[in-house]
Each structure stands twice: as structure tokens, then as C-alpha cells.
């Protein structure tokens, strides 16, 4: 549990926004001094570990147990300060959702900017340390992005059918043999096709992405991941691409090293550009952007979108696409971040994002959220939904790492038992999200269109 809390604190530390004023009632503030101190956190963790102590403030749902979700709230409050929960209105929940997404995408940009900086430095002077720094920056950039994925599936800025760049940002499975060499095909990919693509620039990649509808998507997080890690050919660890793949001259490995560097830099730039476009659509006070239209919608329509995003992320996407398919097929690399073996972080932060949308939680602020609206009409359902989300997150954390090994073996193997348990919890969660929507008089779908 200690490692889990540390991991969460680490991931949140990378995603928090500016600090906010403290308030009277504050989750995790065990000593009631208006802020969450390290001492308060230790008390909370001790409670979670069953090591005794007393802190009602951390047990926000008053079920007598301290969940990971509650610790997450306490940690964010420690980092950012506390803000009170106001009385929830539908319009207020819509506003809060827009605000938390803007803050979340802001953190996404921070991560993508740091990633680009690290990549530019590495390509300028390739070294083992530089490659590691770039990998670290990639890993650090992921949690914030994954938490925004609950904002997909309703034709919003990220995945509007005509303009949404989601496919250029997080496309998966990645067509790696379209980009670079793979085992069994040493001269595969655009990098090794100077005859077809004399120069590799951001413009060329844009053209590849935006040309004919069925042109391969050749950019985004997973393209960068592949270019940093290489194929994952190991049963136990991630891919192990040598940094010399980027070194020109006699110590270089593979061919076309300079072109590989060009590709990596171009992909990092495009990722940042695309993410910036999305963030700008959620910026407050901008006439004509998506947020302006969103908050002006009939609140029920805006809530329908919010709930559709959450519900579909929970159902068709996380349960179906990301867990059940891999569980079902046992294809070893049937996982999202297959080159870096980082798929468990994807699952966890997808789920945290769903919780964020439900609670109106991000950057140290919790609420008003869907939870508060449901609480007003059906308190039992509101708490049941919140609790099943906690249980789902706990179940996801319980899946052994790396995920590509956890899916293997007989159904009685610890990994498969854990995944099946997570899928079962997520099914309950999806059901509860749909019921929560229904309680608000809103009908949503939870399959991936």
C-alpha cells in the first residue's frame, strides 16, 4: 500500500495546478488546521494500512475505511490547499467540469513540453543518459493525459469526428513497421525509406496523418514511445532500443540514425501542437471555442456529454478495449503502452480520470460533481457509485505489473484472477454510471462508438 500511495503522490505531483486557498472543511486535514500536512497524510496512510489512529477528515465518505481515492484527495489537498464544496447545481457541475478539464490539459501540456525538451536535447547529443531522460519525461507525461480520456466519446475537442486530433495523439495499436525497423523487417518504415520520403519534417508527418483517410497514423505518444524504447521483445522488461540508434557514424546501430532523430523530434512537436489545440478549446473566456458553447448548452445536454464520456471510458473503452480484449486474446502485446510496459499506469489514470469527472475533482479541488447532483436525488446510489469507483481503482491497482505478463497463464493465475476482478468491478461501475445518469433524467450510452 505504501508503494501505491507513493506512486499516486508522484503521479499527482506531476499534474497539480496552482495552489488554492484553504477552507474550513478539508479532506485529509486530520488536525483541522485548514491544510493537509505531511503529518496528516501519514495519519491517513496509517489508517489505510490498518495501523491504527483516528482521522475522520480523510474518510470523506464515512464508511469507516480509508480508500485510495480518499488518499488521492488528501494528497491533492496537501499539494494545492483546500477548497470547500459548494452547493451543487447542474450548471455548476458543468462549469466545474470545464474548469477541471482545462486545468488537466494544462498539466498535459506541461508534460508534453518537458518531453519535447528532453527529446530535442537527446537528439542533439545522443547518450544513454539522454535517452533515459527522454523516457522519464515520456513516463511523466502520461498520467495527466490518461486522466483526460474521460472527455472522449461525445464529439468534443479531443475526438470530434471532423477535427478531433485524438487519433494523432494516442493512436493504438501503433503501426510500428510503418515508422521504423522491426524484428523480421530491418528496412521497414518511413525512417528507412529515404527514396520515398527524402526529408522527415513535421509537415511530412502531418501530410501522412491528414492525407487520404486511410493513411497510417504515424505520430503521437505511442510513436514516440516506440522510437524511445523500441519493440518489447522481453518477457520481463520493456523494449530496449540502444541510444546508438540515434548515433551517426561508426558507433551507430541500425541505419538512418539522423532520420530517426528527425522523426522523433517531429513527432514530439506535433504532439505538443495537437494537445495545445485541444487545451485551447477548453480555455475559459474565449469566444467561439468549445468551452464557450459547452457551458452555454442546456445543462442536461452538457451533463449528457460528460456522463457519456465517463460511461464510455468506463465501459467500452477501459473494460472492453483495454482490459477484456487483452484478457480474452492473451496476445502478449495487446496492451496500450506495450513498448514501455507502462500499461498499468494507463489503466490506473483512466480510472482516476473517471472518478475526477464524477466528483468534480482535480488540482486540489473536489466538487461540485455528478456525485453531488445524484446525492441530492438518490443518496444511496451516489455513495454506491462513489464506492464502486474506489473498489474498481483498488482492483486495478491490484493487477500485477507488467500487464502483458498478467494476462498470461490459466484463469487461476494471480494476474488473470486480478484482471477478472477488475473487469467485474468496472462492469458494476459502468452500470452505476448509467444509473446515476438515469437518476438525473439523462440517458447515456457506454459503448465505444
Amino acid at each position: 500500500m505504501g508503494a501505491i500511495v507513493f506512486g499516486l503522490a508522484l503521479s499527482l505531483a506531476l499534474t497539480v495546478g496552482a495552489g488554492r486557498a484553504s477552507a474550513q472543511s478539508c479532506a485529509g486535514d486530520c488536525d483541522g488546521d485548514g491544510s493537509v500536512s505531511i503529518g496528516d497524510l501519514v495519519s491517513g496512510v496509517n489508517l489505510a494500512l490498518g495501523s491504527g489512529g483516528d482521522c475522520d477528515a480523510v474518510d470523506t465518505n464515512t464508511d469507516g475505511e480509508v480508500s485510495i481515492s480518499e488518499l488521492v484527495t488528501a494528497v491533492t489537498n496537501a499539494l494545492d490547499g483546500c477548497t470547500p464544496v459548494g452547493p451543487a447545481t447542474r450548471a455548476g457541475v458543468v462549469e466545474r467540469y470545464a474548469a477541471l478539464l482545462y486545468a488537466n490539459y494544462g498539466d498535459v501540456l506541461t508534460g508534453a513540453t518537458a518531453l519535447r525538451t528532453a527529446i530535442d536535447a537527446f537528439v542533439a547529443a545522443p547518450s544513454a543518459a539522454g535517452l533515459q531522460a527522454a523516457k522519464d519525461a515520456w513516463l511523466a507525461s502520461r498520467p495527466a493525459y490518461l486522466q483526460t480520456e474521460m472527455a472522449r466519446f461525445y464529439d468534443g475537442p479531443i475526438d470530434n469526428a471532423a477535427t478531433g486530433p485524438e487519433g494523432f495523439i494516442n493512436a493504438w495499436p501503433l503501426d510500428e513497421a510503418y515508422i521504423d525497423y522491426v524484428v523480421g523487417s530491418a528496412d521497414a518504415g518511413i525512417i528507412n525509406a529515404p527514396d520515398l520520403y527524402p526529408a522527415i519534417t513535421p509537415e511530412v508527418l502531418v501530410e501522412l496523418n491528414e492525407g487520404e483517410s486511410e493513411t497510417t497514423i504515424a505520430s503521437g505518444y505511442h510513436a514516440i514511445e516506440f522510437l524511445l524504447w523500441g519493440q518489447d521483445l522481453s518477457d520481463t522488461g520493456p523494449g530496449n532500443r540502444p541510444f546508438n540508434d540515434y548515433v551517426t557514424g561508426s558507433s551507430g546501430t541500425a541505419s538512418n540514425q539522423a532520420r530517426r532523430g528527425d522523426y522523433l523530434r517531429a513527432a514530439a512537436k506535433l504532439l505538443l501542437d495537437d494537445l495545445t489545440l485541444v487545451r485551447d478549446q477548453w480555455e475559459p473566456g474565449v469566444e467561439g471555442n468549445y468551452r464557450a458553447a459547452f457551458v452555454a448548452l442546456n445543462a442536461d445536454e452538457a451533463l449528457r456529454r460528460l456522463l457519456t464520456g465517463m460511461g464510455t471510458m468506463s465501459g467500452g473503452e477501459l473494460t472492453g478495449q483495454r482490459l477484456s480484449v487483452a484478457f480474452d486474446t492473451k496476445d502478449q502485446e495487446d496492451e496500450h503502452s506495450c513498448f514501455s510496459d507502462n500499461t498499468h499506469v494507463d489503466h490506473r489514470n483512466d480510472e482516476i480520470g473517471i472518478q475526477n469527472a464524477f466528483l468534480g475533482r482535480y488540482g486540489g479541488v473536489t466538487g461540485p460533481g455528478i456525485y453531488d447532483l445524484v446525492k441530492a436525488v438518490d443518496p444511496t446510489l451516489a455513495d454506491a457509485t462513489r464506492n464502486v469507483m474506489d473498489e474498481a481503482l483498488t482492483a486495478i491497482f491490484a493487477i500485477p505489473v507488467p500487464f502483458d505478463q498478467a494476462i498470461q497463464g490459466p484463469d487461476s493465475s494471480p494476474g488473470r484472477v486480478a484482471i477478472a476482478a477488475a473487469i467485474a468491478k468496472l462492469n458494476q461501475q459502468t452500470d452505476k454510471i448509467a444509473l446515476s445518469a438515469e437518476a438525473l433524467g439523462i440517458s447515456i450510452s457506454t459503448t465505444s462508438p
Binding site: 503501426d175 513497421a177 487520404e212 480484449v325 502485446e333 450510452s445
Partner: protein, 484 residues
């Protein structure tokens, strides 16, 4: 009285051609809104089907009129089978990648292909269309190719260099087969009341052909990707139920024949009733899905284990594959399960008298003779699909639709002028889901009215009735279609 109408209309229908659309038709009696429609004497008279049934797909019908209207599991699919649906959903949406790849379960794209995933053509499980912008390529619509003659299975004989469909895309270092370019000619016409309309007739040119020009006797059939809803219910109709409506020699003299297609069932290795595809040229969902994997995405499967490369395509033949087969039976079963349980959305606005009036007109003018209103599924089908009273608005039979719509490409028993009656359930939501209303097999019709006006051959009589309706009645009939 009704019978007399049909005879007269049939006579006009046989003579009808495109020029008749141009306003030259004789004045016809107008449908009376209250006319009863026991229109088909030889078929067991249907019990008077009430108007305005919202449950088009029986107990599996879902209440969703949003972007996701076609993407829902049948409402009566038990919770413990939902995960299987989600898995199929994921595979349906998944982009296949070039082999070899780390994602060994998803590699094997191409070497030549039309699309990288099922959902890129059946976007949101919906319907494809031809390009709208000049620089857009064909996606969601493909071209079947063949030369005169029959293949060993009784189906069309593939063009020797290009195979049985044009693949406009290919993996790196494999040539794509070529591209299609559509041009449209506007044909003006008028309703009986003088209101004018324009229909667009497509012609296609094929450019960038990698293996030489197409032969002079090439047969080309343009086909948009149909929407995916309710397919399991159609599969669950008994053969007897479908064949009962067949009238190959028009014995009842109503001008409407209705022929069943007899096709090759690859799984059973025998001939079977064709149900799916624009010419009812496929017998089962498994074969339809496996065929689309193979022909459209370039993915081999147990039913179609051979890559989609002709002998003329050396680079295609030499390219690495993604395993043998690339999609194993489990994956095919999973996608088939998914396609079987995609729900039909409920009708909307059925309290609107205009909608109900339009529904009555739909029956009165004769649309329902082929777009059959109601069926009941087999009792022994998979339980969520069994014993369902459904309203697919199709008879799954082939009808001669006249020369103007003909592809002149026989497909098993379907001749060059015959098309299968396409289901109309859910069609009112294509605009919402797919942001277009381009109908008919090649998407030439811009909206419901044009689609109706293109009907000829066996559909000519109903079309003429529509053309002679007063404007308000035409609008009501379209309002009905929008409610589906």
C-alpha cells in the same frame, strides 16, 4: 379497387425509365390517406399492423437517438454477455497494423486494403458514403470488380489482375491497386404538382491503375458500407419466412417479383439463402465479416485463409503476413457476436399525426410491398434474438430496380438489375450518426426524396405514386422515414 390500381401501376412501371422521372408520367389516382392496404393478394394477409410501433427491433430495441444510436448492445442482451459485446466492439474499432509488429494479435494489414478497421467504413456502426469534397478518397464505399462468367463457387468471376474489389490503399512498398473518381450528372425532373427536383447520376473513372487498364468487359459495382444494426435479428428470420414472400414469376401480377438469392456458404460448403450484402450475396454474418476482413482490410481468417493478392501482384504476394490466419476463429466469433447484437434504435415522434399519416402512405403507395413492415424471428434462435416481432422494412429479397440503378454485374442468382431491399429501420438516424443522408447502394441519392425517385423497375409504381402525391403527403412520408 386496390388490385386494379396495382395492375395499372405495374403497366406504367414496366414502361418507366429515367425520362419518366422527368415529369412525363400519366396522371395517376392519388393515394387516399385512409386507404387500407391488404395489397398483396397471394401472401397471407398480414394482420393489420398498428402504426407507430416504436420497438423496431423487438425487445432488444434501445432508446438512443444520439451519435451512438447504432452502437448499443441489444437492450435484452444479458449483463453477463456484455463483456463479449465490448470485446467485439473493441475489435470492430481496432486499427490493424502492418506485419510484423509487436501487437501480434493485430498485425497483418493488407498488403492491399480499403480500410484499416471495420469502423472506418462503418463509422459509429453506421453507414458509409461516397466522397463529398473533391480531394476526399473513397472510404466507406468500395467497388466490386469482375469479368463476365462465374467463379467456381457460382459467384462473380474476379478481374484477373485486380481481384474482386478495388483496393485503393496498400502498405509501404506494395502498390495500391488504383483510385476511383466519381463525376455526377444532374438530371432534372418534376413532381406531378410541378415542383422540380434534380437527381445526380454517377459515373466512375479509375485512375492510377497499378496493373494496367481494366478490360473492356469489366463489371463494376459500387457499394457503400451499410449500417450494422439489427443484423442478428435478420439472421434469426427463418428461411421459410423469407421465402414465403418470394414471387419470382410475379404470379400475383402486382409487378413485384421478389427473388431469393442462392449463394455459396463457405462454412457449410453448400449453397444457401443469401441474406446480407447489397445483392443478398452472403448467407451469414460470419461469412460477411470474414469476407470484409479479407477483402477490405486484408486480414485472413479460417473461412478466407488466402491473402487478397492476385497473381499479377508480386509485391503483395511477397509481403510478410501477420500469422496464418491473421484473425483466428476467436476474433471472428467475437466480431460476429458484436455484429449480431448491435441494437436497433427505437422510433421517435410516433405521436406526431404527420408521422403516422406518412407511415400509412408508405403502405398505401406500395413501399411496404418490398420494405416489409414486420416479421417474427425464429423461436429457436439465440434467446435475445428469438421470437421477436421486428420491423426491419425489408423482405431480404432481390428486386429489379430498373436500368438506371443497375450495376449490370450479376452476383450469384442476382442479375445486373436486381438489388436486395435494404432494411430501413434506424435510417432516420443516419444524419445524426454519420452526418450525411446519402442513400442507395452508391450514395447517389441526397436525401429520402431522391432515393425514392430513383426507384424504377419493380419500384416504379410506388415511385410514381409518390411523385403524384401532394407536397404535404410527400413531406409526411419523409417525416415517417425520419422517425425510423
Amino acid at each position: 379497387m386496390t388490385k386494379v390500381w396495382h395492375v395499372r401501376l405495374a403497366a406504367i412501371g414496366l414502361a418507366a425509365n429515367l425520362a419518366a422521372c422527368g415529369g412525363g408520367g400519366q396522371p395517376l389516382p392519388q393515394a387516399t390517406p385512409n386507404a387500407t392496404t391488404t395489397a398483396r393478394p397471394t401472401v397471407t394477409p398480414a394482420p393489420a399492423e398498428p402504426l407507430g410501433d416504436v420497438l423496431s427491433g423487438g425487445a432488444g430495441t434501445v432508446n438512443d437517438a444520439t451519435l451512438s444510436a447504432f452502437a448499443q448492445p441489444a437492450r435484452n442482451l444479458p449483463l453477463d454477455r456484455r463483456t463479449a459485446f465490448f470485446v467485439g466492439n473493441a475489435l470492430f474499432n481496432r486499427d490493424w497494423v502492418i506485419a510484423p509488429s509487436s501487437t501480434t494479435g493485430s498485425d497483418g494489414l493488407g498488403p492491399v486494403f480499403n480500410a484499416r478497421s471495420c469502423s472506418s467504413c462503418h463509422f459509429r456502426d453506421g453507414r458509409g458514403r461516397p466522397p463529398i469534397k473533391p480531394d476526399e478518397s473513397f472510404i466507406g464505399m468500395l467497388f466490386r470488380l469482375s469479368i463476365p462468367g462465374q467463379a467456381a463457387d457460382g459467384g462473380p468471376l474476379p478481374e484477373p489482375s485486380y481481384g474482386n474489389q478495388l483496393n485503393q490503399a496498400a502498405i509501404l512498398r506494395v502498390p495500391a491497386e488504383g483510385h476511383a473518381v466519381a463525376t455526377y450528372e444532374e438530371l432534372s425532373g418534376a413532381y406531378a404538382d410541378g415542383e422540380t427536383y434534380s437527381l445526380r447520376r454517377p459515373t466512375y473513372d479509375f485512375v492510377d491503375l497499378a496493373f494496367g487498364p481494366l478490360p473492356d468487359d469489366i463489371q463494376v459495382s459500387p457499394r457503400t458500407a451499410p449500417f450494422m444494426i439489427g443484423l442478428g435479428l435478420l439472421e434469426a428470420l427463418s428461411e421459410a419466412n423469407i421465402l414465403a414472400r418470394a414471387d419470382p414469376d410475379d404470379a400475383d401480377g402486382d409487378g413485384i417479383s421478389g427473388r431469393a438469392n442462392t449463394v455459396w456458404d463457405v462454412r457449410q460448403q453448400t449453397t444457401a439463402l443469401g441474406r446480407f450484402g447489397w445483392k443478398a450475396n452472403v448467407p451469414s454474418l460470419e461469412q460477411q465479416n470474414s469476407g470484409a476482413f479479407n477483402g477490405d482490410i486484408g486480414i485472413t481468417s479460417p473461412l478466407f485463409p488466402t491473402q487478397n493478392c492476385t497473381a499479377a501482384q508480386a509485391a503483395c504476394l511477397a509481403a510478410p503476413d501477420g500469422g496464418e490466419p491473421e484473425a483466428d476463429q476467436k476474433k471472428i466469433d467475437s466480431v460476429t457476436f458484436y455484429s449480431r447484437f448491435l441494437a436497433v434504435p427505437a422510433r421517435r415522434d410516433v405521436a406526431d399525426p404527420t408521422v403516422l399519416h406518412g407511415e400509412q402512405l408508405f403502405r398505401d403507395v406500395g413501399c411496404a410491398a418490398c420494405h416489409v413492415t414486420s416479421f417474427t424471428t425464429r423461436a429457436d434462435a439465440d434467446s435475445p434474438l428469438a421470437n421477436q416481432r421486428i420491423h426491419p422494412f425489408t423482405d431480404l429479397l432481390l428486386h429489379d430496380m430498373g436500368a438506371a440503378l443497375a450495376d449490370d454485374r450479376p452476383d450469384f442468382a442476382a442479375d445486373g438489375q436486381e438489388w436486395r431491399t435494404p432494411p430501413l429501420w434506424g435510417i432516420g438516424l443516419i444524419g445524426t450518426v454519420n452526418k450525411h443522408q446519402l442513400f442507395l447502394h452508391d450514395g447517389r441519392a441526397r436525401g429520402f426524396a431522391e432515393a425514392i425517385l430513383w426507384h424504377d423497375g419493380e419500384g416504379a409504381a410506388a415511385r410514381e405514386m409518390f411523385r403524384h402525391l401532394p407536397s404535404a403527403d410527400r413531406a409526411a412520408l419523409i417525416r415517417f422515414l425520419e422517425s425510423l
